[in-house]
Amino acid sequence: MGWAAFFGIWAFVSAVILDEFTLPGPLKVWNEILEIVRGGSWADDFLISISKTFMGFMIALIVGVPVGYMMGRAGYWKAFFHDGVVGAGSIPGIVYAIIALVIFGIGFQGPILAVGLISMPFIALNVAEGLEGVDRDLLSMSTAFGRSDRQALRHILIPSIMPFAFAGVRLSFAIAWKVEALTEVFGSSNGVGFQIRFAFQGFSIAGVLAWTLMFIALLLLIERGLAIVERWLFRWRTWEQAA
Protein backbone atom coordinates (compact mmCIF):
# COMPACT_ATOMS: atom_id res chain seq x y z
CA MET A 1 0.00 0.00 0.00
CA GLY A 2 2.87 2.33 0.87
CA TRP A 3 4.62 1.83 -2.44
CA ALA A 4 1.37 2.06 -4.41
CA ALA A 5 0.81 5.40 -2.66
CA PHE A 6 4.31 6.52 -3.57
CA PHE A 7 3.89 5.83 -7.27
CA GLY A 8 0.30 7.10 -7.24
CA ILE A 9 1.31 10.45 -5.75
CA TRP A 10 4.23 10.69 -8.14
CA ALA A 11 2.01 10.00 -11.18
CA PHE A 12 -0.58 12.47 -9.93
CA VAL A 13 1.91 15.30 -9.36
CA SER A 14 3.53 14.60 -12.71
CA ALA A 15 0.33 14.50 -14.75
CA VAL A 16 -1.95 16.98 -12.99
CA ILE A 17 0.02 19.50 -10.92
CA LEU A 18 3.17 19.81 -13.00
CA ASP A 19 3.74 18.52 -16.49
CA GLU A 20 5.40 15.53 -18.07
CA PHE A 21 8.48 17.57 -18.95
CA THR A 22 9.05 19.15 -15.52
CA LEU A 23 8.46 15.93 -13.66
CA PRO A 24 8.42 12.82 -15.85
CA GLY A 25 5.95 10.25 -14.59
CA PRO A 26 6.84 6.80 -13.25
CA LEU A 27 6.25 5.17 -16.63
CA LYS A 28 8.60 7.46 -18.47
CA VAL A 29 11.30 7.03 -15.84
CA TRP A 30 10.76 3.26 -15.94
CA ASN A 31 11.39 3.33 -19.71
CA GLU A 32 14.50 5.39 -19.04
CA ILE A 33 15.68 2.78 -16.54
CA LEU A 34 15.08 0.03 -19.14
CA GLU A 35 17.10 2.08 -21.58
CA ILE A 36 19.96 2.38 -19.10
CA VAL A 37 19.80 -1.33 -18.31
CA ARG A 38 19.86 -2.19 -22.02
CA GLY A 39 22.89 0.07 -22.41
CA GLY A 40 24.77 -2.48 -20.32
CA SER A 41 27.35 -0.34 -18.57
CA TRP A 42 25.08 0.42 -15.59
CA ALA A 43 26.27 -2.66 -13.74
CA ASP A 44 29.85 -1.45 -14.01
CA ASP A 45 28.93 1.96 -12.64
CA PHE A 46 27.15 0.49 -9.66
CA LEU A 47 29.86 -2.04 -9.06
CA ILE A 48 32.48 0.71 -9.11
CA SER A 49 30.48 2.86 -6.69
CA ILE A 50 29.84 -0.07 -4.36
CA SER A 51 33.46 -1.12 -4.30
CA LYS A 52 34.58 2.44 -3.55
CA THR A 53 32.09 2.57 -0.69
CA PHE A 54 33.31 -0.79 0.54
CA MET A 55 36.96 0.28 0.46
CA GLY A 56 36.04 3.49 2.26
CA PHE A 57 34.41 1.40 4.97
CA MET A 58 37.50 -0.77 5.27
CA ILE A 59 39.60 2.33 5.89
CA ALA A 60 37.02 3.65 8.34
CA LEU A 61 37.10 0.36 10.23
CA ILE A 62 40.89 0.16 10.25
CA VAL A 63 41.14 3.68 11.70
CA GLY A 64 37.84 3.89 13.58
CA VAL A 65 38.07 0.69 15.62
CA PRO A 66 41.44 1.56 17.24
CA VAL A 67 40.31 5.15 17.83
CA GLY A 68 37.09 3.92 19.43
CA TYR A 69 39.11 1.42 21.46
CA MET A 70 41.33 4.19 22.80
CA MET A 71 38.30 6.38 23.55
CA GLY A 72 36.58 3.58 25.43
CA ARG A 73 39.69 2.71 27.38
CA ALA A 74 41.23 6.02 28.50
CA GLY A 75 39.68 9.29 29.57
CA TYR A 76 42.55 11.17 27.96
CA TRP A 77 41.85 9.81 24.49
CA LYS A 78 38.13 10.27 24.96
CA ALA A 79 38.75 13.98 25.50
CA PHE A 80 41.34 14.05 22.71
CA PHE A 81 39.03 12.70 20.01
CA HIS A 82 35.78 14.07 21.45
CA ASP A 83 35.43 17.28 19.46
CA GLY A 84 36.47 15.71 16.18
CA VAL A 85 34.18 12.71 16.47
CA VAL A 86 31.19 14.64 17.72
CA GLY A 87 31.67 17.53 15.30
CA ALA A 88 32.08 15.30 12.27
CA GLY A 89 28.35 14.53 12.30
CA SER A 90 27.44 18.12 11.49
CA ILE A 91 30.04 18.79 8.78
CA PRO A 92 28.21 19.21 5.45
CA GLY A 93 28.74 16.41 2.92
CA ILE A 94 29.98 18.93 0.37
CA VAL A 95 33.00 19.61 2.59
CA TYR A 96 34.02 15.95 2.44
CA ALA A 97 33.68 16.03 -1.32
CA ILE A 98 35.81 19.18 -1.44
CA ILE A 99 38.53 17.68 0.76
CA ALA A 100 38.63 14.52 -1.36
CA LEU A 101 38.74 16.54 -4.55
CA VAL A 102 41.53 18.81 -3.34
CA ILE A 103 43.70 15.96 -2.12
CA PHE A 104 43.24 13.48 -4.95
CA GLY A 105 41.77 15.46 -7.83
CA ILE A 106 39.55 13.51 -10.20
CA GLY A 107 40.22 9.88 -9.50
CA PHE A 108 38.99 6.79 -7.76
CA GLN A 109 40.68 7.62 -4.41
CA GLY A 110 38.52 10.68 -3.72
CA PRO A 111 35.22 8.91 -3.03
CA ILE A 112 37.02 6.28 -0.96
CA LEU A 113 38.52 8.99 1.23
CA ALA A 114 35.16 10.76 1.57
CA VAL A 115 33.40 7.55 2.64
CA GLY A 116 36.21 6.78 5.07
CA LEU A 117 36.09 10.24 6.61
CA ILE A 118 32.34 10.36 7.05
CA SER A 119 31.82 6.87 8.46
CA MET A 120 34.89 6.73 10.70
CA PRO A 121 33.38 8.81 13.56
CA PHE A 122 30.26 6.64 13.64
CA ILE A 123 32.35 3.51 13.97
CA ALA A 124 34.68 5.02 16.57
CA LEU A 125 31.73 6.26 18.60
CA ASN A 126 30.03 2.89 18.53
CA VAL A 127 33.16 0.97 19.43
CA ALA A 128 33.79 3.35 22.35
CA GLU A 129 30.26 2.79 23.56
CA GLY A 130 30.60 -0.97 23.17
CA LEU A 131 33.81 -0.97 25.15
CA GLU A 132 32.33 1.10 27.96
CA GLY A 133 29.63 -1.54 28.20
CA VAL A 134 31.96 -4.56 28.36
CA ASP A 135 30.92 -6.82 31.21
CA ARG A 136 33.66 -6.47 33.86
CA ASP A 137 32.36 -9.65 35.49
CA LEU A 138 33.28 -11.67 32.42
CA LEU A 139 36.81 -10.25 32.57
CA SER A 140 37.19 -11.25 36.21
CA MET A 141 35.81 -14.70 35.36
CA SER A 142 38.54 -14.92 32.75
CA THR A 143 41.19 -13.98 35.29
CA ALA A 144 39.84 -16.45 37.86
CA PHE A 145 40.19 -19.29 35.35
CA GLY A 146 43.73 -18.18 34.55
CA ARG A 147 43.09 -17.06 30.96
CA SER A 148 45.68 -14.79 29.35
CA ASP A 149 45.03 -11.21 28.25
CA ARG A 150 45.20 -12.32 24.63
CA GLN A 151 42.50 -14.92 25.19
CA ALA A 152 40.33 -12.33 26.95
CA LEU A 153 40.82 -9.92 24.06
CA ARG A 154 39.83 -12.52 21.50
CA HIS A 155 36.92 -14.10 23.34
CA ILE A 156 35.54 -11.23 25.42
CA LEU A 157 36.59 -7.78 24.25
CA ILE A 158 36.37 -8.29 20.49
CA PRO A 159 33.03 -10.15 20.58
CA SER A 160 31.64 -7.36 22.79
CA ILE A 161 32.77 -4.66 20.40
CA MET A 162 31.84 -6.32 17.10
CA PRO A 163 28.07 -5.75 17.25
CA PHE A 164 28.72 -2.09 17.95
CA ALA A 165 31.24 -1.71 15.13
CA PHE A 166 28.82 -3.40 12.76
CA ALA A 167 25.98 -1.15 13.89
CA GLY A 168 28.28 1.79 13.19
CA VAL A 169 28.74 0.56 9.63
CA ARG A 170 25.03 0.00 9.14
CA LEU A 171 24.02 3.32 10.65
CA SER A 172 26.46 5.27 8.54
CA PHE A 173 25.79 3.32 5.36
CA ALA A 174 23.05 5.60 4.01
CA ILE A 175 25.15 8.69 4.68
CA ALA A 176 28.30 7.13 3.26
CA TRP A 177 26.52 5.97 0.11
CA LYS A 178 25.20 9.50 -0.45
CA VAL A 179 28.59 11.11 0.09
CA GLU A 180 30.21 8.58 -2.22
CA ALA A 181 27.82 9.57 -5.02
CA LEU A 182 28.26 13.26 -4.20
CA THR A 183 32.02 13.00 -4.48
CA GLU A 184 31.60 11.28 -7.83
CA VAL A 185 29.34 14.11 -8.94
CA PHE A 186 32.09 16.58 -8.11
CA GLY A 187 34.97 14.73 -9.61
CA SER A 188 34.99 11.28 -11.15
CA SER A 189 35.01 9.66 -14.52
CA ASN A 190 32.80 6.72 -13.59
CA GLY A 191 30.28 5.51 -11.03
CA VAL A 192 26.66 6.37 -10.26
CA GLY A 193 27.43 9.94 -9.23
CA PHE A 194 29.22 10.53 -12.51
CA GLN A 195 26.22 9.22 -14.45
CA ILE A 196 23.83 11.49 -12.54
CA ARG A 197 26.09 14.46 -13.30
CA PHE A 198 26.20 13.40 -16.95
CA ALA A 199 22.40 13.29 -17.14
CA PHE A 200 22.20 16.70 -15.43
CA GLN A 201 24.57 18.25 -17.93
CA GLY A 202 22.53 16.76 -20.77
CA PHE A 203 19.49 18.41 -19.14
CA SER A 204 17.75 15.04 -18.93
CA ILE A 205 15.36 15.16 -15.96
CA ALA A 206 14.17 11.63 -16.71
CA GLY A 207 17.79 10.49 -16.77
CA VAL A 208 18.56 12.04 -13.38
CA LEU A 209 15.42 10.48 -11.91
CA ALA A 210 16.14 7.07 -13.41
CA TRP A 211 19.66 6.92 -12.01
CA THR A 212 18.44 8.29 -8.68
CA LEU A 213 15.73 5.66 -8.42
CA MET A 214 18.23 2.90 -9.05
CA PHE A 215 20.54 4.51 -6.53
CA ILE A 216 17.82 4.56 -3.86
CA ALA A 217 16.69 1.02 -4.64
CA LEU A 218 20.21 -0.22 -4.12
CA LEU A 219 20.59 1.79 -0.91
CA LEU A 220 17.46 0.25 0.56
CA LEU A 221 18.41 -3.24 -0.62
CA ILE A 222 21.87 -3.08 0.90
CA GLU A 223 20.50 -1.58 4.11
CA ARG A 224 18.07 -4.46 4.48
CA GLY A 225 20.78 -6.92 3.55
CA LEU A 226 23.07 -5.52 6.22
CA ALA A 227 20.28 -5.77 8.79
CA ILE A 228 19.79 -9.45 7.90
CA VAL A 229 23.51 -10.20 8.06
CA GLU A 230 23.67 -8.41 11.38
CA ARG A 231 20.82 -10.40 12.83
CA TRP A 232 22.51 -13.64 11.74
CA LEU A 233 26.02 -12.71 12.92
CA PHE A 234 24.85 -11.62 16.33
CA ARG A 235 22.00 -14.08 16.76
CA TRP A 236 23.02 -14.73 20.36
CA ARG A 237 21.82 -11.19 21.13
CA THR A 238 18.17 -11.87 20.31
CA TRP A 239 18.08 -14.70 22.83
CA GLU A 240 19.97 -12.59 25.27
CA GLN A 241 17.29 -9.91 25.11
CA ALA A 242 14.46 -12.41 25.24
CA ALA A 243 15.84 -14.09 28.33
Binding site: G2, G75, V85, I94
Partner: protein
Protein backbone atom coordinates in the same frame (compact mmCIF):
# COMPACT_ATOMS: atom_id res chain seq x y z
CA UNK B 1 58.37 18.36 22.44
CA UNK B 2 55.33 16.23 23.14
CA UNK B 3 53.56 15.71 26.42
CA UNK B 4 54.85 12.16 26.67
CA UNK B 5 58.55 12.99 26.43
CA UNK B 6 58.24 15.92 28.77
CA UNK B 7 56.49 13.97 31.46
CA UNK B 8 59.40 11.55 31.65
CA UNK B 9 61.59 14.21 33.20
CA UNK B 10 61.47 13.93 36.97
CA UNK B 11 59.31 16.53 38.63
CA UNK B 12 57.72 17.67 35.44
CA UNK B 13 54.88 15.19 35.44
CA UNK B 14 53.58 16.64 38.68
CA UNK B 15 54.19 20.25 37.74
CA UNK B 16 51.19 22.36 36.88
CA UNK B 17 51.92 22.30 33.12
CA UNK B 18 52.26 18.53 33.08
CA UNK B 19 48.98 18.13 34.90
CA UNK B 20 47.25 20.65 32.64
CA UNK B 21 48.40 18.73 29.56
CA UNK B 22 46.99 15.48 30.89
CA UNK B 23 43.67 17.01 31.90
CA UNK B 24 40.74 16.74 29.51
CA UNK B 25 41.23 20.36 28.47
CA UNK B 26 44.86 19.62 27.80
CA UNK B 27 43.79 16.68 25.66
CA UNK B 28 41.45 18.90 23.65
CA UNK B 29 44.05 21.56 23.06
CA UNK B 30 46.58 18.90 22.10
CA UNK B 31 44.11 17.42 19.63
CA UNK B 32 43.60 20.77 17.87
CA UNK B 33 47.33 21.22 17.76
CA UNK B 34 47.76 17.70 16.34
CA UNK B 35 45.10 18.47 13.72
CA UNK B 36 46.96 21.56 12.52
CA UNK B 37 50.24 19.64 12.42
CA UNK B 38 48.61 16.82 10.42
CA UNK B 39 47.14 19.38 8.02
CA UNK B 40 50.55 21.00 7.63
CA UNK B 41 52.05 17.61 6.75
CA UNK B 42 49.31 16.83 4.23
CA UNK B 43 49.68 20.33 2.80
CA UNK B 44 53.38 19.81 2.34
CA UNK B 45 52.98 16.43 0.65
CA UNK B 46 50.07 17.08 -1.77
CA UNK B 47 50.73 20.03 -4.07
CA UNK B 48 47.05 20.97 -4.37
CA UNK B 49 46.49 21.12 -0.61
CA UNK B 50 47.16 24.56 0.91
CA UNK B 51 48.84 24.80 4.31
CA UNK B 52 46.92 26.03 7.35
CA UNK B 53 48.69 29.38 7.22
CA UNK B 54 47.87 29.98 3.53
CA UNK B 55 44.26 29.09 4.20
CA UNK B 56 44.00 31.36 7.22
CA UNK B 57 45.57 34.18 5.24
CA UNK B 58 43.02 33.64 2.48
CA UNK B 59 40.08 33.64 4.90
CA UNK B 60 41.31 36.90 6.42
CA UNK B 61 41.61 38.57 3.02
CA UNK B 62 38.20 37.29 1.97
CA UNK B 63 36.49 38.43 5.17
CA UNK B 64 38.24 41.79 5.41
CA UNK B 65 37.75 42.58 1.73
CA UNK B 66 41.50 42.49 1.22
CA UNK B 67 43.52 41.91 -1.93
CA UNK B 68 43.88 38.35 -3.31
CA UNK B 69 46.80 39.36 -5.50
CA UNK B 70 44.66 39.82 -8.61
CA UNK B 71 41.67 41.67 -9.88
CA UNK B 72 39.22 40.14 -7.42
CA UNK B 73 38.97 41.62 -3.92
CA UNK B 74 37.70 39.67 -0.94
CA UNK B 75 33.94 39.32 -0.96
CA UNK B 76 32.73 37.53 2.13
CA UNK B 77 29.83 39.60 3.39
CA UNK B 78 27.94 40.12 0.16
CA UNK B 79 27.85 36.38 -0.53
CA UNK B 80 27.17 35.50 3.05
CA UNK B 81 24.25 37.90 3.18
CA UNK B 82 22.89 36.40 -0.04
CA UNK B 83 23.00 32.86 1.36
CA UNK B 84 21.67 33.38 4.89
CA UNK B 85 18.15 34.52 3.87
CA UNK B 86 17.82 31.58 1.44
CA UNK B 87 18.93 29.23 4.18
CA UNK B 88 16.65 30.79 6.80
CA UNK B 89 13.56 30.84 4.58
CA UNK B 90 14.19 27.27 3.45
CA UNK B 91 14.62 26.00 7.00
CA UNK B 92 11.52 27.81 8.28
CA UNK B 93 9.31 26.43 5.52
CA UNK B 94 10.82 22.97 5.87
CA UNK B 95 10.20 23.05 9.61
CA UNK B 96 6.55 24.02 9.25
CA UNK B 97 5.88 21.42 6.56
CA UNK B 98 7.80 18.80 8.50
CA UNK B 99 5.88 19.42 11.72
CA UNK B 100 2.49 19.26 10.00
CA UNK B 101 3.32 16.08 8.08
CA UNK B 102 4.97 14.56 11.15
CA UNK B 103 1.93 15.23 13.33
CA UNK B 104 -0.35 13.69 10.73
CA UNK B 105 1.83 10.61 10.34
CA UNK B 106 2.25 10.21 14.06
CA UNK B 107 -1.44 10.63 14.87
CA UNK B 108 -3.22 8.68 12.13
CA UNK B 109 -2.16 5.18 11.22
CA UNK B 110 -3.90 5.62 7.86
CA UNK B 111 -1.62 8.54 6.95
CA UNK B 112 1.36 6.59 8.23
CA UNK B 113 0.59 3.61 6.01
CA UNK B 114 0.11 5.96 3.08
CA UNK B 115 3.20 8.11 3.51
CA UNK B 116 5.88 6.01 5.21
CA UNK B 117 7.37 4.70 1.96
CA UNK B 118 7.15 8.14 0.32
CA UNK B 119 9.06 9.50 3.29
CA UNK B 120 11.58 6.68 3.05
CA UNK B 121 12.41 7.65 -0.53
CA UNK B 122 12.65 11.33 0.41
CA UNK B 123 15.04 10.48 3.24
CA UNK B 124 17.17 8.39 0.92
CA UNK B 125 17.35 11.09 -1.77
CA UNK B 126 20.69 12.87 -1.64
CA UNK B 127 20.49 16.67 -1.52
CA UNK B 128 22.46 16.85 -4.76
CA UNK B 129 19.50 15.33 -6.63
CA UNK B 130 17.20 18.09 -5.39
CA UNK B 131 19.85 20.62 -6.33
CA UNK B 132 20.00 19.23 -9.89
CA UNK B 133 16.23 18.97 -10.26
CA UNK B 134 15.53 22.46 -8.91
CA UNK B 135 18.24 23.95 -11.10
CA UNK B 136 16.67 22.27 -14.13
CA UNK B 137 13.24 23.48 -13.04
CA UNK B 138 14.01 27.05 -12.03
CA UNK B 139 17.31 27.85 -13.68
CA UNK B 140 20.01 29.91 -11.95
CA UNK B 141 18.76 32.14 -9.14
CA UNK B 142 17.44 32.15 -5.59
CA UNK B 143 14.75 29.50 -6.17
CA UNK B 144 16.97 26.45 -6.55
CA UNK B 145 18.76 26.92 -3.18
CA UNK B 146 15.55 27.65 -1.26
CA UNK B 147 13.61 24.72 -2.70
CA UNK B 148 16.55 22.38 -2.28
CA UNK B 149 16.71 23.24 1.41
CA UNK B 150 12.96 22.69 1.85
CA UNK B 151 12.90 19.38 -0.02
CA UNK B 152 16.00 17.97 1.70
CA UNK B 153 15.28 19.09 5.26
CA UNK B 154 11.51 18.68 5.67
CA UNK B 155 11.51 14.83 5.66
CA UNK B 156 13.94 14.75 8.59
CA UNK B 157 11.73 17.08 10.64
CA UNK B 158 8.69 14.97 9.78
CA UNK B 159 10.35 11.72 10.86
CA UNK B 160 11.38 13.17 14.21
CA UNK B 161 8.03 14.75 14.97
CA UNK B 162 6.22 11.53 14.06
CA UNK B 163 8.53 9.63 16.41
CA UNK B 164 7.78 12.12 19.15
CA UNK B 165 4.05 11.69 18.79
CA UNK B 166 4.40 7.93 18.84
CA UNK B 167 6.68 8.12 21.87
CA UNK B 168 3.70 9.11 24.02
CA UNK B 169 3.06 5.70 25.50
CA UNK B 170 -0.36 4.07 25.21
CA UNK B 171 -0.20 3.56 28.99
CA UNK B 172 -0.09 7.31 29.55
CA UNK B 173 -2.98 7.75 27.13
CA UNK B 174 -4.98 5.12 28.97
CA UNK B 175 -4.08 6.72 32.29
CA UNK B 176 -5.42 10.04 30.96
CA UNK B 177 -8.58 8.29 29.82
CA UNK B 178 -8.99 6.69 33.25
CA UNK B 179 -8.72 10.04 35.01
CA UNK B 180 -10.84 11.79 32.37
CA UNK B 181 -8.18 14.44 31.74
CA UNK B 182 -9.59 17.17 29.48
CA UNK B 183 -8.27 17.46 25.95
CA UNK B 184 -6.39 20.77 26.19
CA UNK B 185 -4.64 19.74 29.40
CA UNK B 186 -3.72 16.48 27.72
CA UNK B 187 -2.07 18.32 24.84
CA UNK B 188 -0.28 20.74 27.17
CA UNK B 189 1.01 18.24 29.73
CA UNK B 190 1.38 15.03 27.77
CA UNK B 191 1.79 15.57 24.03
CA UNK B 192 3.78 18.82 23.99
CA UNK B 193 6.47 17.83 26.52
CA UNK B 194 6.79 14.49 24.76
CA UNK B 195 7.43 16.01 21.35
CA UNK B 196 9.43 19.14 22.26
CA UNK B 197 12.68 17.22 22.41
CA UNK B 198 11.94 15.58 19.09
CA UNK B 199 11.03 18.95 17.59
CA UNK B 200 14.45 20.32 18.48
CA UNK B 201 16.19 17.19 17.25
CA UNK B 202 14.30 17.59 14.00
CA UNK B 203 15.25 21.24 13.79
CA UNK B 204 18.86 20.38 14.37
CA UNK B 205 18.85 17.77 11.59
CA UNK B 206 17.07 20.24 9.33
CA UNK B 207 19.74 22.88 9.93
CA UNK B 208 22.65 20.50 9.35
CA UNK B 209 21.10 18.95 6.25
CA UNK B 210 19.76 22.26 4.98
CA UNK B 211 23.17 23.89 5.23
CA UNK B 212 24.68 21.20 3.04
CA UNK B 213 21.73 21.56 0.65
CA UNK B 214 22.01 25.32 0.24
CA UNK B 215 25.73 25.04 -0.46
CA UNK B 216 25.19 22.36 -3.11
CA UNK B 217 22.38 24.23 -4.82
CA UNK B 218 24.39 27.43 -4.91
CA UNK B 219 27.37 25.56 -6.27
CA UNK B 220 25.44 24.27 -9.25
CA UNK B 221 22.66 26.81 -9.68
CA UNK B 222 23.21 30.34 -8.43
CA UNK B 223 25.03 33.48 -9.48
CA UNK B 224 26.00 34.53 -5.97
CA UNK B 225 26.11 33.12 -2.43
CA UNK B 226 28.81 31.29 -0.50
CA UNK B 227 28.43 28.03 -2.46
CA UNK B 228 28.84 29.88 -5.73
CA UNK B 229 31.87 31.76 -4.37
CA UNK B 230 33.56 28.49 -3.35
CA UNK B 231 32.97 27.14 -6.84
CA UNK B 232 34.50 30.28 -8.36
CA UNK B 233 37.78 29.55 -6.58
CA UNK B 234 37.58 25.89 -7.59
CA UNK B 235 37.06 26.75 -11.26
CA UNK B 236 39.96 29.19 -11.03
CA UNK B 237 42.06 26.31 -9.63
CA UNK B 238 42.82 28.47 -6.57
CA UNK B 239 42.60 25.67 -4.03
CA UNK B 240 43.34 27.75 -0.97
CA UNK B 241 40.15 29.68 -1.70
CA UNK B 242 38.24 26.45 -2.08
CA UNK B 243 39.60 25.02 1.19
CA UNK B 244 39.21 28.37 2.94
CA UNK B 245 35.51 28.35 2.13
CA UNK B 246 35.17 24.75 3.28
CA UNK B 247 36.60 25.88 6.64
CA UNK B 248 34.11 28.76 6.76
CA UNK B 249 31.26 26.30 6.06
CA UNK B 250 32.39 24.13 8.97
CA UNK B 251 32.88 27.03 11.37
CA UNK B 252 29.43 28.42 10.57
CA UNK B 253 27.61 25.15 11.23
CA UNK B 254 29.71 24.40 14.36
CA UNK B 255 28.84 27.79 15.84
CA UNK B 256 25.15 27.42 15.02
CA UNK B 257 25.03 23.86 16.29
CA UNK B 258 27.21 24.24 19.36
CA UNK B 259 25.92 27.61 20.58
CA UNK B 260 22.24 27.39 19.68
CA UNK B 261 20.89 24.01 18.63
CA UNK B 262 22.64 21.46 20.89
CA UNK B 263 21.89 23.40 24.09
CA UNK B 264 18.25 23.75 23.03
CA UNK B 265 18.01 20.06 22.25
CA UNK B 266 19.59 19.06 25.53
CA UNK B 267 17.34 21.42 27.47
CA UNK B 268 14.26 20.02 25.81
CA UNK B 269 15.32 16.46 26.63
CA UNK B 270 16.41 17.18 30.21
CA UNK B 271 13.58 15.09 31.70
CA UNK B 272 15.24 12.02 30.26
CA UNK B 273 17.20 10.45 33.11
CA UNK B 274 20.02 8.86 31.16
CA UNK B 275 20.54 8.81 27.43
CA UNK B 276 22.09 5.62 26.11
CA UNK B 277 25.55 7.17 26.21
CA UNK B 278 26.79 10.68 26.85
CA UNK B 279 28.76 10.76 23.59
CA UNK B 280 25.84 9.56 21.54
CA UNK B 281 23.47 11.99 23.20
CA UNK B 282 25.64 14.81 21.94
CA UNK B 283 25.57 13.56 18.39
CA UNK B 284 21.91 12.66 18.47
CA UNK B 285 21.97 11.57 14.87
CA UNK B 286 23.51 8.21 15.70
CA UNK B 287 20.86 7.34 18.21
CA UNK B 288 18.26 6.45 15.62
CA UNK B 289 18.11 2.68 15.22
CA UNK B 290 18.72 2.08 11.55
CA UNK B 291 17.95 4.23 8.57
CA UNK B 292 15.11 2.15 7.20
CA UNK B 293 13.78 1.28 10.63
CA UNK B 294 13.56 4.95 11.46
CA UNK B 295 11.66 5.69 8.30
CA UNK B 296 9.39 2.66 8.23
CA UNK B 297 8.88 2.15 11.94
CA UNK B 298 8.45 5.87 12.56
Amino acid sequence: MSAATMSRQPGFANSSIGRALRSSWGARVTSYFAFVVAWQIVGASFFRVPTPWETLDFIWREVSGGDHGGVRPGQFWEHFSATVPRFAIGISVAFVIGVVVGLLIGSFSFVRALLSDVLLVFLALPAIIWAFLTVMWFGLGWEAPVYTVILSAAPFVAVNVAQGVRAVSPELRRMSDAFGVPRNRRIRSMLLPAITGYLFTGLRFAVIIGWNAVLLAEWFGAVDGVGWRARLWYDAARYKGFVGWAIIFIVFIFLLDGLVLSPLQRRAFRWRASPSSDLKAEVGAVDTESFTNTAIGL
